[in-house]
Amino acid sequence: YRHSSQYRFWSFSKEHLREKRDMTNKLAVETIEKDLFDFKALNDLTPEELNALDTKAVPLTTEEELKLIDFYAKKVQVISQHLNLPTEIIATSISFFRKFFLENSVMQFDPKNLVHTTVFLACKAENYFISVDSFAKKAKSTRESILKYEFKLLESLKFTLLIHHPYKPLHGFFLDIQNILHGKVDLNYMGQIYDRTKKKITQALLTDAVYLYTPPQITLAVLLIEDEPLITKYLELKFADNDNDDNGNEVKRKKKNSIDLTVLLSVIKECKDVIENLQTVSTEDARKIAAKNYFCQNPKAL
């Protein structure tokens, strides 16, 4: 995993993530302010026009950008689900979209214009090839608008296209739990857990958990949400440092685990918190921010 591009290029601490977003926002604000300055200089505006600009054509804050990105990332999920794409491709689409707006501001690229391009490139990257014309038809878009930002998207992704999603780990833990908890867990129940967790993982991919934690940690966090006692029991049996010998008292385990159970549990609980506080952005909020963004780009319209 440490060799993967996902770890090398797309893993951040909370602070680093914050800095990145602030930096992306700052660069865009500077450009907007310069353009607005030039606009005012080039047009002799009346006082009320100037006032309108100062109150309505205001560059977005990082928080506002994030809301707009989350709003459209949800749209990426809905559109790719609507296109009946396999789960992993939906996940890759969301990932491509959110990464693009980690590297670029919504004030440079209107998120609306990237939605289809990210889904289209995700299909290609996951070997689920759809021609751009049939994709445009299905997505009610045009080949030009889909292809327009494909290069820019690939560049912003730092040319990393292989993403490890938490779904395969879910299958792996589904099997390993049957091994470690053999005979202690009902298989039908496990099947239900599997299905519910799989759906919840897609929600988790809309949060920053994907930058802060590894795919298996996200899987375990979502499993913890689904059934804390079961997962805690599994992890204790799997990674605890001591075994219970047959008459029940604790003995030091021979093989030292490379995983520290307490650390693992605390990481997973943190991850669980990040996943659970996913904010949904209302259409009203998004519309207001989009309007502000629009006026920043088009002061003349204002």
């Binding site: 490890h164 792996g172 589904f174 049957q178 091994n179």
Partner: protein
């Protein structure tokens, strides 16, 4: 691979209806489909 792997593959302990179904299909058997390769894959991804 340097450190000991964090899992062992216990095929007989797994009840995976999804795979059980596939591995009995003619076209899967003829293609060389192997459940242990799938187990290897998903367990590696789980413990990487």
């Amino acid at each position: 691979d340097i450190e000991p792997r964090r899992f062992t593959i216990e095929e007989e302990l797994y009840d995976d209806p999804f795979l059980k179904d596939l591995q009995n299909k003619k076209e899967f058997i003829a293609s060389g489909f192997r459940t242990d390769y799938v187990y290897e894959r998903v367990l590696t991804e789980a413990f990487m």
